[in-house]
């Protein structure tokens, strides 16, 4: 909300500096997003055009004699076309400072001009919100008065943010009240009494029929003798400074009252109301209304309207209809100051995608008591404009007093950690308009003011006490937390995984969870590319690898989502891997795969204390011949392999990519390894070369060696593979190193030879191996 400080000063005494006021508002919970400072303007005074003549030497110019009070007269030549004798206008005198302009004496076609009549734009007001040409003032303005002082044009304007629970503070009076309470100074609120009198109006004084439970109170008032004209300059300037475009005196009064009191109003042209009554009701499905913005809107029964006997006249709390709009022909109006259910107004506003200053207030559920205040303030302003006022009539529920809230002084200390006396608490709450009664020495009965619907429980009051006392006065205390049994295990596991991968040379990335494909759809996506929840981290990672020109080693942990019969299934995954330049290797060897496999093994060993096993598998999106299933203790934990080259091509991957996917929940707790004391006797080894069918897995050969030799074997590793014409179709040559060692004595050559021959027999039998040693 844009708040001219000069308007606030009307109700409360404030420090001179706007920044100080803004800081105070922030400590009260109303942060100021921006302080707009007005340009310096001096030497602009009011004057009256006493005489206006054609310029003797120029058709387009006129020469005015301007009375600026105290028998002072200025001769001013002007090119403006909206000037006439008798007008009260603003005059920049010689030496006056305007934004980017200093007024100097000058001669216009032979006439010495002693100043300049000026427009709103020259006063740094939005030019297109005011009349073309010279700004028109009221004849009631004293002549020779400083225009900047008169209209508060030098005020700073604060852009104040107001939380949704405080619609009462979406008003000048509301914010002035907060500042008054905080500074401990008084709020200068004139007693606002509705000047309407009980008399028989010349026209109809409509009855109001409230059919909907969502209208709590409706004050209507007939006002006659209104002629549509521009509002007084002071009001137009104030509205403009507040960011509200002046329209005409009636619309401006309703906006002015809304900004000042927080109560939105609506004026109906009295002639437009058919059947002599206003009805607050739900719209009929398909009912149409042309709103003030000229748009024809089709309503559903969710909309709330104010109608006459024939048609909807107004969208309740949101926007008026064109059919009852006040215009040049309007002579009498019916004022509406109503209170609606905020949720109903908000739903209607959302459904129609229409938001107004009025709905922004109504949707937060205003206090019903504001209706009478708003009507009275509008009536007073319209009376000043010469209107005839009739008695206001209130419909709907009465304005009820809120129930008193019991507040224990001890609870203030308990929640804030700051000790305050009952008197201090009383003083702070009273400053905000609460009625406070001491029911017991340390218990207060607090009745919130009518405009504060947000105060319903003791905690609400404690916040008020803290706000006025100042949050900064609450002392800092470090709590001592008692022991508890809440586990951090899931977080710790993921943390360890990330640190382990960091150690293996992978960089962590975060990709988008919302993607163009998946099995779980979002109902209200921002775009089609973000329509689905990801079911895998792989696409995001491939996209990342494709976007980056150099090879990269990366990982991500995150949630993926699947739609299953039981409902939505959410799972935490880890995916890591790299893109790398292709190696010059035969098709049966892939060192990148082996490197990834090694990283996977080391990671799992580090995280679980166990050794992973791999076997061939197929997986969608992965190379059919270069993918392994990863198991730990016979439990599947994930898979790894090269990304299918066709997918890589489709994803614009420049290089082969290798990824490993691990289901984090499938990882068992870390098993502490136990040290195995090595044999103190020397070991010996022998290398075995064997030719086997190509589908014999190296790991199976290693296992067979260990199985054949038992405890005598302390190591069996396949270290080479070869395929080629010398070996034969469908066959491959493997070389394995077998380490032999005894724990009780040095192994003898005879023992070693016997073991190897046993081993070779086993390999021949199990794999049909041809031994080449």
């Amino acid at each position: 909300m844009r708040v001219p400080v000069s308007w606030l000063r009307e109700f409360v005494t404030l420090p001179p500096d706007a920044q100080t006021i803004a800081d105070r508002l922030a400590t009260l919970g109303f942060p100021v997003a921006e302080i707009e400072r007005r340009p310096t303007i001096t030497g602009v005074i009011t004057g009256r055009i006493a005489d206006l003549q054609k310029h003797p030497n120029a058709d387009r110019l006129q020469v005015a004699q301007v009375d600026v009070g105290d028998d002072a007269w200025l001769t001013i030549a002007t090119a403006a076309t909206n000037v006439a004798a008798g007008q009260t206008i603003a005059v920049a005198t010689i030496g006056a400072q305007l934004p980017g302009l200093t007024i100097a004496p000058r001669t216009m076609r032979g006439v010495a001009s002693q100043g300049m009549m000026i427009s709103a734009e020259e006063l740094a007001l939005p030019g297109d919100w005011f009349e073309d040409g010279i700004m028109q003032l009221e004849s009631s303005c004293a002549l020779g008065a400083d225009v900047v002082d008169l209209f508060g044009l030098d005020t700073a304007v604060l852009d104040v943010e107001i939380t949704t629970n405080r619609p009462d503070a979406m008003s000048i009076i509301g914010l002035a009240r907060e500042l008054a309470a905080s500074y401990g100074s008084g709020l200068r609120l004139p007693e606002i009494v509705n000047p309407g009198r009980a008399a028989e109006p010349p026209g109809e004084e409509p009855d109001v029929l409230i059919e909907s439970h969502d209208c709590y109170r409706f004050v209507s008032q007939r006002i006659d003798g209104v002629g549509v004209a521009p509002a007084p300059a002071w009001m137009r300037v104030r509205l403009a400074l507040s960011g509200q475009r002046p329209i005409n005196n009636l619309v401006d009064v309703s906006n002015y009252v809304m900004l000042e009191t927080g109560q939105p109003l609506h004026f109906y042209d009295a002639r437009a109301i058919r059947g002599g009554r206003l009805i607050v009701r739900s719209a009929h499905d398909g009912e149409q209304i042309v709103t003030l913005d000229g748009v024809t809107r089709t309503l559903s029964s969710a909309a709330l309207v104010v109608a006459d006997d024939e048609r909807a006249l107004c969208l309740a709390g949101l926007m008026g209809g064109a059919v009852s709009e006040v215009g040049p022909a309007t002579t009498a109006i019916v004022l509406e100051a109503a209170n609606f259910n905020g949720a109903r107004v908000r739903r209607m506003s959302n459904a129609l995608a229409l938001r107004t200053e009025a709905s922004a207030r109504h949707e937060k559920s205003l206090a019903p008591a504001l209706t009478d205040l708003g009507a009275a303030r509008a009536a007073a302003l319209l009376r000043d404009l010469g209107a005839t006022l009739y008695e206001p009539h209130a419909f709907g529920g009465p304005v009820t007093r809120a129930a008193a809230i019991a507040l224990k002084v001890a609870d203030v200390q308990r929640l804030l950690g700051m000790s305050l006396h009952a008197q201090q608490i009383e003083r702070h709450l009273a400053a905000l308009g609460c009625e406070v009664e001491r029911v017991e020495p340390e218990v207060l009965a607090v009745t919130p003011p009518a405009w504060r619907r947000d105060l319903t429980i003791a905690a609400d009051l404690i916040e008020e006490v803290a706000r006025i006392e100042g949050y900064e006065r609450i002392p800092l205390v470090v709590p001592s937390v008692a022991p508890h049994e809440i586990s951090s295990a899931a977080f710790a596991l993921e943390s360890r995984i990330a640190r382990a991968l960091e150690g293996l040379g992978y960089r962590e990335i975060i990709t988008q969870s919302l993607r163009g494909a998946g099995s779980v759809e979002v109902r209200n996506p921002l775009s089609d590319e973000q329509r689905f929840l990801r079911d895998s981290l792989v696409p995001g990672i491939i996209e990342y690898l494709a976007e980056n020109a150099s090879p990269a080693r990366i990982f991500e942990t995150g949630e993926v989502f699947r739609d299953e019969q039981s409902g939505l299934v959410e799972q935490s995954l880890l995916t890591f891997g790299f893109s790398a330049d292709p190696l010059d290797e035969p098709p049966w060897r892939d060192s990148h795969f082996l490197a990834l496999k090694g990283d996977c093994e080391q990671l799992l060993r580090k995280i679980t204390g166990r050794d992973a096993e791999m076997k061939r598998t197929t997986q969608s999106g992965f190379h059919p011949g270069k993918t392994a299933l990863v198991t730990l203790d016979e439990r599947e934990v994930g898979h790894l392999g090269r990304i299918d080259p066709r997918l890589a091509k489709a994803s614009d991957l420049q290089r082969p990519a290798y990824l490993c996917v691990v289901k984090i929940a499938s990882l068992r707790a870390y098993e502490t390894p136990r040290y195995r004391v090595p044999s103190k006797y020397p070991s010996t080894y022998c290398d075995v070369a064997l030719v086997v069918d190509i589908d014999v897995a190296a790991r199976d050969v290693e296992r067979a060696i260990v199985a054949a030799l038992g405890s005598l074997c302390t190591g069996a590793t396949v270290f080479d593979e070869y395929r080629g014409p010398q070996i034969g179709q469908g066959r491959k040559s493997l070389a394995a190193r077998v380490t032999l060692q005894r724990f009780d004595a040095t192994i003898t050559d005879e023992e070693a030879d016997a073991a190897v021959s046993l081993l070779l027999d086993a390999l021949r039998n199990e794999f049909g191996a041809e031994i080449r040693t």
Partner: protein
């Protein structure tokens, strides 16, 4: 004898010439083998001793041994000279130590995780546990249980991605408050980091996918002063000891009293101005403060919802945007960089 002596002399002379010619250790070794080896020339000469009369043999042996000793000394000197020359050559080498280094690939954790880990470490030191939970959460945990019934205007502030009538991507980590309190009895001392989603238009300050860091402490006797104490400590942990923290009244349906938490802008040190910028600090918009997020005392309705007696237990909660913290901590210009994670960004912040 004289003949032997002259043969020996000849051998020694040729040996000396060969040693002088040898310019590396391998050549020197060949010379040694050719003259002093098992079948070398000296051996041939030594064999000739057998042809001498017995009386001359000892003298001849001594002459040969002396000659061999002299040759070996000469060889040793040649070896040492060669080695010394090699060291000279090696030590004469010199490189530009400022030449760019060769680096092996290193890993790194994402700056978002680093902030989360650092924050968790601080809270764990103070006895808090770290809990995590699902990203797709029923509206009950996201709103209803947090004192935001369906018609509440505050729901508008959580423009969420909905999956069904009741299931949505969590717009904040606060569901973890409810889940934890329903599962355990006080004392509750947790922090809950996690990914959240809101239908915000993405720009330099907003993401629709971001991380939040939630905290909750509920026990007997917990008050607002404890909140101020812990969060001030957190900011000093993350930004340094000089850090100030400011609490401003605000409104959240699940806390009462509520507060926005700001901390000194680390870029301008709270002054709001930078020497390099005439328009003021771009990190804090010239205010000198960085907004961290919301906090407050847990609303009695929330405590009641999980079966805690608000007259007995009190507590506080807070929720910070992690990427927002990251902007300030690493002086990042655009929040989207945290999602883009480009290699240079990761390398610079690791």
């Amino acid at each position: 004898m004289t003949e032997l002596a002259s043969r020996l002399d000849d051998v020694a002379q040729r040996f000396a010439a060969a040693v002088d010619r040898a310019n590396d250790e391998q050549a020197l070794e060949s010379v040694r083998v050719a003259y002093l080896g098992r079948n070398g020339e000296v051996t041939t000469v030594r064999r000739a001793i057998g042809t001498l009369p017995h009386t001359e043999r000892p003298e001849a042996g001594k002459v040969i041994n002396d000659a061999v000793a002299a040759m070996e000394r000469r060889l040793q000197a040649a070896y040492e000279q060669l080695e010394s020359r090699r060291f000279d050559a090696e030590l004469a080498a010199s490189i530009d130590v400022t030449f760019p280094s060769i680096r092996r690939p290193v890993g790194s954790i994402h700056p978002v995780r680093r902030i989360i880990d650092d924050s968790c470490a601080y809270f764990m030191r103070h006895g808090f546990a770290v809990v995590t939970g699902p990203e797709a959460e029923p509206d009950y945990y996201n709103f209803d249980a947090l004192n935001i019934p369906s018609d509440h205007p505050a729901r508008e502030g959580f423009d969420s991605f909905w999956i069904s009538d009741t299931l949505l991507l969590r717009p904040h980590t606060s569901p973890m408050q409810i889940r934890t309190m329903q599962e355990h009895r006080p004392p509750i001392a947790i922090v809950a980091p996690g990914k959240c989603f809101r239908r915000d238009a993405v720009d330099a300050r907003h993401l629709f996918q971001f991380h939040q860091f939630e905290g909750l402490l509920v026990a007997e006797g917990i008050h607002f002063g404890h909140l101020k104490g812990m969060l001030t400590g957190l900011c000093r942990e993350l930004f340094g000891e000089q850090q100030n923290v400011r609490f401003r009244p605000s409104y959240f349906p699940f806390t009462e009293p509520s507060a926005e938490v700001d901390t000194t802008c680390p870029k301008c040190k709270g002054t709001g101005s930078l020497e390099s910028s005439p328009v003021g600090c771009n990190m804090c918009g010239g205010s000198g403060w960085i907004e961290l997020g919301g906090s407050g005392m847990v609303h009695p309705n929330v405590l009641r919802e999980v079966g805690y007696d608000p007259d007995r237990y009190s507590g506080w909660a807070f929720g910070f945007g992690v990427e927002r913290l990251g902007l300030a901590r690493y002086e990042v210009d655009d929040i989207r960089r945290f999602v883009k994670s480009d290699p240079d960004f990761l390398a610079q912040l690791s």
